[in-house]
């Protein structure tokens, strides 16, 4: 009974659904506010993302006559479910997320690709020129950023020698600053160069996944109305927006875990006590500060760049970010060969 209660609290409240939803809304507000402030606007009030979702939930649903209602109704809910499932892999109060197994990083990437392909189904089921065009662009963006992202994360896997998010999170500072070995070696500091390149390629890929500014051709409002979400109304649209908000948490959390070392775990405690509460709160606060920092960087990139055409997006991601990530993998391997 006690175990069940603890599991319920874990999945339902603290690193689980309630915390993820709350913090995603906070992050979404922070992103919008920072973009507004960088553009010299006031920006939305704190509760605005929650208001938006609530208002959309109360709106009437309208389906076009020839569209496939089943897909338009259930795919957005599936997107939300996928986004919540992805959030369970993010380490929040411990190096381990709620779900953690060997190779979970690549399962996470698979779920991200699944989220991208659901966009295509929604666009196709709407039977509308705008949605079809937007869906095509969404899929093209998705296959363009997915490969640089996967290769960047593979580079981090090679650097840390792990394919599990929790282990990569635990080992990253040790690899970079050589704190895990007794003998200090200067070679390890060279890891900072590929780390930086991989961080930049991953950040840009994350922006592509979130369909934010340089890579937002999939819903270029002046051109193709709402992109693949054009025919979504009411709670269907709310679910899609909600999934996007939670994906901001997921992808920001992935960057924090893999590149910035995730939450700071100062000690381990097996039993429930005051000490464990202190450990959890320190880890949580450090995680949240890192997340806000990542979202701040994302807001800078979003503000400073204008929307690219779809052919510019593909050529940028395939001809700059893909070679850059491959080059940094080569760098990582050569540093390892030098004895890092």
């Amino acid at each position: 009974m006690m175990m069940f209660l603890i599991d319920f609290l874990k999945f339902g409240i603290l690193p689980g659904v309630l915390y993820v939803v709350w913090f995603s809304i906070v992050l979404s507000w922070f992103l919008r506010k920072m973009v507004a402030r960088l553009e010299n606007r006031v920006g939305p009030p704190f509760n605005q993302p929650a208001y938006d979702i609530t208002k959309l939930m109360a709106k009437q649903r309208v389906y076009p006559r020839e569209s496939n209602r089943w897909i338009l109704h259930y795919i957005p809910r599936a997107q939300l479910a996928i986004a919540l499932l992805m959030s369970f892999f993010i380490p929040v109060i411990n190096y381990k997320g709620l779900l953690s197994f060997s190779g979970d990083l690549y399962f996470f990437l698979f779920l991200l690709a699944l989220h991208g392909s659901t966009a295509f189904f929604v666009g196709w089921a709407s039977k509308n020129t705008y949605t079809l065009s937007g869906a095509g662009r969404a899929v093209l963006t998705e296959i363009s950023f997915e490969i640089p992202l996967a290769i960047s994360l593979a580079g981090m896997s090679i650097m840390t020698g792990q394919i599990r998010i929790s282990e990569m999170c635990r080992h990253i500072w040790g690899e970079l600053f050589n704190t895990s070995n007794d003998a200090f070696s200067w070679v390890n500091l060279f890891y900072l160069i590929p780390w930086m390149i991989l961080l930049i390629t991953s950040l840009y890929s994350v922006i592509g996944a979130l369909e934010l500014n340089p890579f937002s051709a999939a819903h270029a409002e002046t051109e193709i109305v709402g992109g693949w979400t054009t025919e979504l109304t009411g709670s269907d649209l709310a679910m899609t927006k909600f999934a996007d908000i939670i994906n901001l948490f997921n992808l920001g959390g992935l960057i924090v875990a893999i590149f910035l070392g995730g939450p700071l775990v100062i000690a381990t405690s097996s039993s429930f006590s005051f000490l464990s509460l202190v450990i959890i709160s320190v880890a949580l606060i450090v995680f949240m500060i890192k997340m806000l920092f990542v979202v701040f960087i994302i807001s800078f990139i979003v503000t400073l760049s204008s929307r690219l055409r779809i052919d510019q997006i593909t050529s940028m991601l395939w001809s700059i970010f893909l070679p850059a990530s491959m080059l940094s993998i080569l760098l990582v391997i050569s540093i390892q060969a030098l004895g890092g």
Binding site: A36, R37, L38, E39, N40, R41, V42, G43, P45, F300, T303, L304
Partner: protein
């Protein structure tokens, strides 16, 4: 290219510490310029129910319902009004003015309609 990027970065960073150009709308408003054509308001004491404003109103926002020669109902529907100021220009008695009230949104259409009861009998007895 890099130079442009840096100047944009500098500008964006400066904006973080500047006072924003916009305001937090429902809590605070910008000052409207003088002479703005806002909601038309009637001064019931001046109105003689002559009906010139009703005839000139292009959107039939003003309607006058006369009960007898001296009494009647005067109503303005802001949902129809196009704020053209014709009624103010045509009125000989200074009875209708476009005030600078520009926050006229309401939750129901009925609330946009204001009706005044006008009686010239009281004024005559006062005189």
């Amino acid at each position: 290219m890099a130079n442009k990027m840096f100047s944009a970065l500098r500008e964006a960073t400066k904006n973080l510490f500047r006072r924003p150009n916009t305001v937090n709308f429902p809590q605070e408003n910008v000052e409207v310029p003088e002479g703005i054509r806002g909601a038309p308001r009637l001064t019931p004491g001046n109105c003689t129910l002559c009906g010139r404003c009703e005839r000139i109103c292009p959107t039939t926002a003003i309607s006058i319902e006369k009960l007898n020669k001296e009494e009647g109902y005067f109503s303005i529907d802001l949902g129809k009004c196009c704020y053209c100021q014709e009624c103010e220009h045509i009125c000989n008695f200074d009875a209708i003015h476009l005030r600078p009230d520009w926050l006229t949104a309401e939750f129901s259409k009925d609330k946009l309609k204001t009706t005044h009861f006008i009686s010239k009998r009281d004024e005559k007895s006062a005189k």
